[in-house]
Symmetry: D2
Subunit: 346 residues, 4 copies
Amino acid sequence: MVTAGVIGSTGYAGAQLVSLLVNHPHVSLTYLASHSYVGKRFSSIYPSMEGSCDLVLEEEDLEKASKRCSVLFLALPHGLASKLVTPEILKRCVVIDLGSDYRLSDASVYTQWYKCEHGSANLLKEAVYGLSELKRKEVSQANLIANPGCYTTCSILTLAPLVAENLIDTTSIIIDSASGVTGAGRVEKTDSLFCECNESFKAYGVTNHRHTPEIEQELSALAGEKLIVQFTPHLVPMNRGILSTCYANLKEGVGEEEIRAAYMKWYAQENFIRLMGSTLPETRFVRNTNTTAIGWKVDPRTRRVIAIGAIDNLIKGAGGQAVQNMNIRFGFAENSGLATSVVNPL
Amino acid sequence: MVTAGVIGSTGYAGAQLVSLLVNHPHVSLTYLASHSYVGKRFSSIYPSMEGSCDLVLEEEDLEKASKRCSVLFLALPHGLASKLVTPEILKRCVVIDLGSDYRLSDASVYTQWYKCEHGSANLLKEAVYGLSELKRKEVSQANLIANPGCYTTCSILTLAPLVAENLIDTTSIIIDSASGVTGAGRVEKTDSLFCECNESFKAYGVTNHRHTPEIEQELSALAGEKLIVQFTPHLVPMNRGILSTCYANLKEGVGEEEIRAAYMKWYAQENFIRLMGSTLPETRFVRNTNTTAIGWKVDPRTRRVIAIGAIDNLIKGAGGQAVQNMNIRFGFAENSGLATSVVNPL
Amino acid sequence: MVTAGVIGSTGYAGAQLVSLLVNHPHVSLTYLASHSYVGKRFSSIYPSMEGSCDLVLEEEDLEKASKRCSVLFLALPHGLASKLVTPEILKRCVVIDLGSDYRLSDASVYTQWYKCEHGSANLLKEAVYGLSELKRKEVSQANLIANPGCYTTCSILTLAPLVAENLIDTTSIIIDSASGVTGAGRVEKTDSLFCECNESFKAYGVTNHRHTPEIEQELSALAGEKLIVQFTPHLVPMNRGILSTCYANLKEGVGEEEIRAAYMKWYAQENFIRLMGSTLPETRFVRNTNTTAIGWKVDPRTRRVIAIGAIDNLIKGAGGQAVQNMNIRFGFAENSGLATSVVNPL
Amino acid sequence: MVTAGVIGSTGYAGAQLVSLLVNHPHVSLTYLASHSYVGKRFSSIYPSMEGSCDLVLEEEDLEKASKRCSVLFLALPHGLASKLVTPEILKRCVVIDLGSDYRLSDASVYTQWYKCEHGSANLLKEAVYGLSELKRKEVSQANLIANPGCYTTCSILTLAPLVAENLIDTTSIIIDSASGVTGAGRVEKTDSLFCECNESFKAYGVTNHRHTPEIEQELSALAGEKLIVQFTPHLVPMNRGILSTCYANLKEGVGEEEIRAAYMKWYAQENFIRLMGSTLPETRFVRNTNTTAIGWKVDPRTRRVIAIGAIDNLIKGAGGQAVQNMNIRFGFAENSGLATSVVNPL
């Protein structure tokens, strides 16, 4: 039994994580912290959790928390975690950061995209990028795990086999993604109001979304050379889900067969990846699960592959993958607390 | 040509009003004020209005505005308008208040429901309750017009003929209403976030919603006796629309025929009321219009009438009725700037 | 381990049931039948279930199925089940009917509301109305269990303590309900198209909805006298959820205290009922769970109680209660396969 | 005053067109035909149109209709119009076809993408592709106008200046689009049910959507060489709107300045095109209008332009452009019956 805590537990990612942890067979959830709701019961903020999680929300005190918990999850706005984590804390407990502070291994890239200095650049070399399927070994030994972004998880998993197996022109990668509104967090801002999102569709963060360097860092590592990608997110009037439609020019001689073989080689054994071939994924097919669904089409007219991935942004894109990483790190079955079977088809 | 201004123009009701006024054949819109966006162009807040309304937003200064405009519309949170309107202003220009400050003729009722003192109780006797179809004469002579609430408009119009013609037991009236989320205004609060409203349905303000005393005031006047009603609003995950499902016990001897006759007598000649009989209204049937659609069923088993009204809460429930009242007050055709024909069936 | 089958497995209620059964610790799901998709894998219709349920859909043959299964669930349009069930089948296996054929104990009431003859009126005396919380003993011994309707479950559970404890005037009951669109089933009809439901709200079945006699039958039994209710359903643009806003006049001397005491007496020990007091339920609080959430307000002005219940129409209103009934019937823990904890707060 | 008729008037595109025509100052709408609702009033199918359009729906008889009308609009499934239109009909009246039959000038391309023979290939040379802004002269003289597809209109208008001014590598064009569900028509199919679309996002028609050859035909003409494009549509859970996110590699020496200049040169004078520069369009900005909104970003890292266009698929993408074409053909002001000002900002 592992004692666990969550800092930033009342945001959407944090709350999703909490709901997974309270059902986890090897976890004892003992500490929940919140910036805005100290002293209230968690279930007074999320009434659906009444009876499941009635812990009282505490101050965000990483130092203290690290003495009470074996694993601490951070779900904070960027720039905060890196000011709180210290080498001492990492000696006492495993930190899994759902935020962006430890995802980029190069602090200057962080500064370039986030427009602020990194608070603990010295810890970056200890941090492991926790894309579970691609980093099992590293995650299993890390005390500081940087949980990947939601768009990032979906996009990297969809493109990894194509890049790693050298099937596509890496200068041609375009990732056109769309997310449900939970991706914007539980933040009181006009843009996230019901009537501003409902019945509309838009692109945002065009050319400068902060998930771009994450995708480039990881795909570059797989390619064995530095590559850059075009990444464009969109906002969909729905609660959950991310779909990434990825375009790339095929290398000469590459066709449907090679693409399929690459996906099979990389993912056929994966518990949380569902290869759908030419039956393309829809976000509802993975809603409320930790599964990544991937389909693809080769276009003989244009000599491109269009590979499409779908995840639940709050689960595989946040809380679910965080649990998956904890499972790997602590030696639990990787799917503990993460049913692959959807509870509800709708 | 009437010069018009709107104070509180960037909220949802205000913006709807603006979009109607810029298309109005007899109005020159010359003054728009906003609490939060002074100095910005209106169309920078509502890009759909670019080219239609590019006025720069000014400070909210009712005094000054009243010297520039013949009619001023106020769309402010409750408690503000009553602090701003003065007898001098009313001498210079017509004020149409979309807020609640001048709707209740008894200041003590206001205090009881709004939990605050009225800012200009002396003006209440000059104010006319602007439910256009029922108060044409009064509106045509008023300098201070209290535009009714959205739920109120829908509920009163649906029940008025039944109450006035003495067809129902006035102790038995239950009004079960539901509104789209624009009814909550363009306010940054957690409850109005997309993910808090979407895919859910709830009641709110049960037993104490502030539209209750308005409904009671007007229906009592029609009944010729003081009555009270049960009013329960609900929130629907959609942008626009109000549906009021009204229940009442039939008086002895009253049946389908009397009900129909009452509606015909009261509304057959009304431009903005569509009687649908037993074909019940849906909110989409009146979306983007100033129309009130009303249908009804008599239940022989329970001896009740169920009368259902539908409006667009931002038009007939706010900006549209405000324009209708202006039309009446200034002697324009009542439907000027208020097409009865829906632009789009979906 | 119980062998189970579902007939009508690809409708929304059936599919929800399947997703619960495949995760049930004591069930082996061995037979799925479908009217439209014979020969296809269940997961080809519901791709989210790939890997969880890949059974091939078979012909709807109750006779054969009853020889292979210990429990058979029927999720069929009304009028079909009653033509298929026979005394012989009921000797071989337990039948839990999610449809309406065996809910009304009086065949003439069935004919009156459903406008057709009952196909096996002789079996009605064997059928038990499976509202789990109210009928545990009967359910535990029945071979033919009539799973209640969705509106019915929500409305009866909300009103039962008030009626049974004699706190309200039973001639004054008005039930104003609203449901998500899964309630209309997976049927290709214009009314259920996205663009016909989205951004609108309507009442339907006013005065004649078929769940009315069910509610009256069960509440009458609790009241010890025949009562009738006013029931009005509405359609909400969301997938799941039912909210019932119930109105009744308080009997003399009854107030907040008596109401609360009644709810506590009846439900304080119930696993699947959450009493929220004056914190009113929203449908999202129970989404994806088998829980019924109930809140209430006493209105001293009108001397009425407004009691509000919320369920997930596909779970407590269909598949979940069916599993709960199976658990009771076969002596499993009542919550087997029915986590009370929500997997996801959103 | 022009007499007009609509065949296929009860589908979503047809109904939108009807609602525009009844408000058109120079049109007398005299004939409405429907496949499914002959004998019913139009407003019984679309109750929001009661009082605005109560015409009785007639049989679909193009021959007869052409004797009663000066302009006939066809809104039919593909393959039907080409079997009905004859040279004789075109002598008597102007035909504006909202379907796809006359959009492709090469019948073999039609056969390749639509998998059926063209019904009147001899008329293709008379047909004009009615993308109003690009084909005014041709439209003004045509008797057979092929109204463009919805995705097509949005995509071509967004890319035309870039292609025509030789600013982008025409082998690199990727068009990633998304549409509201009205795009699927008012057709009873499972895929269009509320619960199958709501809360999900998917791609469809990947590599083979039938709007592809239209886009290629028109952009090729502008480029002066045959080009092919990658086009991927997606489905958004909303009623109306199309957004096209278009990617292309910039030619050497081309930057932000040249892109802007091209858009200004082509569209600065256009009534129905709103250039938004780096303020990117959202579909709600053009909802219920005939406007195309276009924004763009140049990405210096990738040397690509991302140009984004937004339209209302039922107006500029169907009925509105059909009216615009009629206006051009009959010499009316181009914006007759097509207010540029949105009626409602939400």
